[in-house]
């Protein structure tokens, strides 16, 4: 026989799934929400998203090639995904140079300083976002009015911020609620806010797509949203004058974006379902605590980053159920 045969250990077949497919499917899942943002914020939404994606990809390429001196991995789609998620987490009016700073921190500090895809303990897009929020609090909380709003102003406040101010000023929740959008508006996203967080409906649509394609499982989003609902529900039942009903919190402040797309980042979330349960409950509880008792009106970014920090610990101590193990 003249031909050389390949010799390798089993298995000899492989799933058609790949890291690239996973990344591009998540990006595809985000397209409906992006389309909604363009509808609501116009060209600004396109500007911010394109800039963030281009900057993340470019920084990844440059750092990998010239600083890490390794083969750039930009085609795996992870840098582009970080760019989209970063864009989704900032106001559509954010100045260009701030977007570039955010992208540099997300990719350079959040991801590549740890060794690149798979090695970062914290969600890179959230590292970038929180860096911007702490550094430029004014620009990061100036929300452009949507194209379809009837008010005569350039900026406005998010529903969560309005709620926080109202409660702080001593108004009962029922009174504050007069000035807030109805839950139906919140559901499809007729409100000001970060670029990609506003439409719960389109974010859920992407979730359904990811479940269908088995990109992620239902566990983490359901654990987080369930915890927010339950915890806020308990507070609301005890004191409806100080605490708003729980559905409001599910539909605002990036709860959907965080729970479905940021907390499920595979690299930074636990490996077992039991670990994911603790992780999800932790994120839900911290989010509700920050929103009701903390300094920021929204809190899921911080909650996810904090629980990211616990992920290695959860992976060490929470083991899957072994076959034939003794209980």
């Amino acid at each position: 026989m003249s031909k050389l045969l390949t010799i390798s250990p089993s298995p000899h077949v492989h799933t058609s799934d790949s890291v690239n497919k996973i990344m591009y499917r998540v990006i595809l899942a985000l397209v409906p929400a992006l389309a909604w943002s363009v509808f609501m914020f116009g060209f600004e939404a396109i500007r911010v998203t394109l800039l963030a994606v281009a900057a993340c990809v470019a920084f990844e390429y440059l750092i990998q090639k010239y600083i890490m001196k390794s083969e750039p991995q930009i085609t795996d789609g992870s840098a582009a995904l970080t760019g989209i998620l970063l864009a989704f987490n900032v106001p559509a009016s954010l100045p260009t140079w701030m977007i570039l700073v955010g992208a540099l921190v997300a990719i350079g500090v959040g991801k590549l300083s740890f060794g690149g895809l798979g090695n970062n303990p914290f969600n890179p897009a959230l590292v970038g976002r929180v860096f911007l929020l702490i550094s430029f609090p004014v620009q990061m909380t100036s929300w452009p009015v949507t194209q379809h709003a009837t008010v005569d102003a350039l900026t406005t406040a998010t529903p969560l911020a309005l709620l926080k101010e109202g409660v702080k000023a001593g108004q009962p929740v029922s009174e504050v609620m007069q000035g807030l959008p109805a839950n139906l508006d919140l559901l499809y996203g007729n409100m000001p806010g970060s670029l990609g967080e506003i439409s719960a409906l389109f974010l859920l649509l992407g979730f359904a797509y990811m479940l269908w394609k088995k990109v992620i499982t239902w566990h983490i989003p359901v654990f987080i949203l369930g915890t927010i609902f339950a915890f806020q529900g308990i507070l609301w039942m005890f004191n409806p004058e100080n605490f708003i009903e729980p559905v409001f919190h599910l539909l605002t402040g990036g709860a959907m974006l965080g729970a479905i797309y940021m907390a499920t980042d595979m690299v930074t979330s636990p490996m077992t379902v039991k670990g994911q349960l603790i992780y999800g409950i932790g994120i839900g509880v911290i989010t509700v605590l920050i929103r009701n008792f903390g300094a920021y009106p929204e809190g899921i970014s911080f909650a996810i980053l904090i629980m990211n920090g616990f992920t290695p610990l959860l992976n060490v101590y929470i083991k899957p159920k072994r076959f034939g193990g003794t209980k």
């Binding site: 026989m1 031909k3 045969l5 390949t6 010799i7 390798s8 250990p9 089993s10 298995p11 000899h12 077949v13 492989h14 799933t15 799934d17 790949s18 890291v19 497919k21 996973i22 795996d76 690149g116 895809l117 798979g118 090695n119 595979m266 690299v267 979330s269 490996m271 077992t272 992976n315 083991k319 899957p320 159920k321 072994r322 076959f323 034939g324 193990g325 003794t326």
Partner: protein, 443 residues
């Protein structure tokens, strides 16, 4: 709801290309190479030397201990030499090279196709006969069957499980045996039940073989104590522990044998070999082998004499396709890639798979993105990503504590990894090292 095992599992493309091809007798080759080690345990001791005349079914190598098996000549002719030659392991192994002359069988072997149903119900006699005939597990593990039939002190078999799962993609030899040799198979099952002194046997068959399920159900209705259990299609259901879990719900404890939960598992091919050994006095000298692959002209199921070079099967199936990149002895999930077509069919060869170039090469490995898929699919509840890391870093205490020795090497983790990481390669390495450490500790 169809029964299946709970933890993990994958579903690779089935590709059962030869499922409707009836078993054909393959013409005798010019010469055969019969290795003396075709089973788990001690190699057999050769009894013949150069120049000896042998007949089909003649004992040519004697079992080398309790966990070992007799080897019989699969052809008649002249022993050319007793020497080393390559087998599917890729290493030179001792064996007997025989030039084929005619097809003369040992006297006393019934080569007719008459069904012999009645037998003497003495467990010891049945087990002795199985031992003499060199029957080993034909599912691939080749564990000597007579050893399984004698439970260790203080343990008692309660139930016999017959493995008709054939969960490996491509392979169809067990499927054809269930369709074409069902009567013989059921007598074999009754013999095994008698040898184990159990009154219940289950034949587990995956639901992608509805014809086999229907056929065996009709026949088993006339027998008492034999039940056909259709199972949901899921790999690795043919793994002993997974099959026991799927059919009986019992879970073999970590580190223990199936007998710990009162179960003994045997392959359908083995049950057929048991029938032939006991009822027809015929040693294990031939078996059904699937020859298949996407580019193979005529995928087929051949009845092949042990020792036949796999080149003969390939020729009979239409020759080696141009685009062959890998030749696998066994299925694509657990089979061995072989280096040449001169290696012989042995007792454990369930199929020969010719893979196309495009599928033969592995993709380059990427970073682990901790997608959890390897953990989700592991049928033993292990953490393949972690075991790979500790094997790579040689932290053997952690590998052992994380149950690396429980791994059944089914390959579900490597199959499913989107980053193309060779998880099982590293786990095998770790298993070898940890196994050595455990053994040296016992000394």
């Amino acid at each position: 709801m169809l029964k299946t095992f709970k933890l993990g599992g994958v579903h690779p493309a089935e590709n059962k290309l030869s499922a409707d091809k009836a078993i054909e007798k393959l013409a005798l080759p010019k010469s055969v190479f019969i290795p003396v080690a075709q089973h788990i345990g001690a190699p057999a001791q050769a009894l013949v030397k150069k120049g000896d005349q042998v007949k089909v079914g003649q004992l040519v190598a004697k079992s080398g201990g309790f966990v070992s098996a007799n080897i019989h000549s699969s052809v008649s002719g002249t022993v050319k030499k007793v020497d080393l030659a390559m087998d599917s392991s890729g290493y030179p192994k001792q064996g007997i090279l025989i030039d084929v002359e005619g097809d003369e069988w040992e006297t006393g072997i019934d080569t007719s196709s008459t069904l012999v149903k009645n037998f003497e119900t003495d467990p010891k006699k049945i087990i002795d006969r199985i031992n003499e005939a060199g029957v080993v597990g034909l599912g691939g593990a080749t564990f000597p069957t007579h050893v399984k039939l004698v439970p260790p002190q203080g343990m008692k078999a309660e139930v016999l499980l017959i493995n008709g799962v054939e969960c490996e993609p491509y392979l169809t030899s067990d499927h054809r045996v269930m369709l074409e040799k069902a009567d013989e198979l059921l007598v074999g099952v009754r013999l095994l039940m008698c040898a184990l002194e159990v009154d219940k046997a289950y034949i587990g068959i995956e639901n992608n073989k509805p014809d086999a399920i229907k056929h065996l159900k009709e026949l088993a209705a006339k027998e008492s104590g034999i039940e056909i259990v259709p199972l949901k299609v899921k790999y690795p259901q043919g793994g002993e522990k997974q099959l026991i879990k799927a059919v009986t719900g019992r879970e073999v404890p970590s580190g223990a044998l199936p007998i710990a939960v009162g179960a003994v598992v045997s392959n359908v091919g083995t049950a057929l070999a048991v029938y032939e050994a006991v009822q027809k006095n015929k040693p294990l000298v031939e078996r059904v082998v699937t020859i298949t692959g996407k580019s193979v002209k005529n995928p087929a199921n051949f009845l092949v004499r042990v020792g036949t070079p796999i080149q003969y099967l390939i020729d009979a199936a239409g020759g080696l396709p141009e685009d062959t990149g890998k030749i696998i002895s066994g299925g694509p999930m657990m089979g061995k890639a072989v280096a040449s077509t001169d290696i012989p069919v042995t007792k454990g060869t369930s199929g020969i798979l010719l893979m196309q170039d495009a599928e033969a090469k592995r993709q380059p490995m990427k970073n682990c993105i901790r997608c959890t898929r390897c953990v989700t699919v592991c049928p033993m509840g292990l953490e393949p990503y972690f075991l790979m890391t500790v094997s790579d870093k040689q932290i053997w205490e952690k590998a052992e504590a994380s149950k690396i020795m429980d791994c059944i090497e089914c390959g579900s983790c490597s199959y499913t990894c989107p980053a193309d990481r060779p998880l099982l390669d590293y786990i095998r390495l770790g298993k070898g090292k940890v196994g050595n450490i455990i053994r040296s500790r016992k000394k």
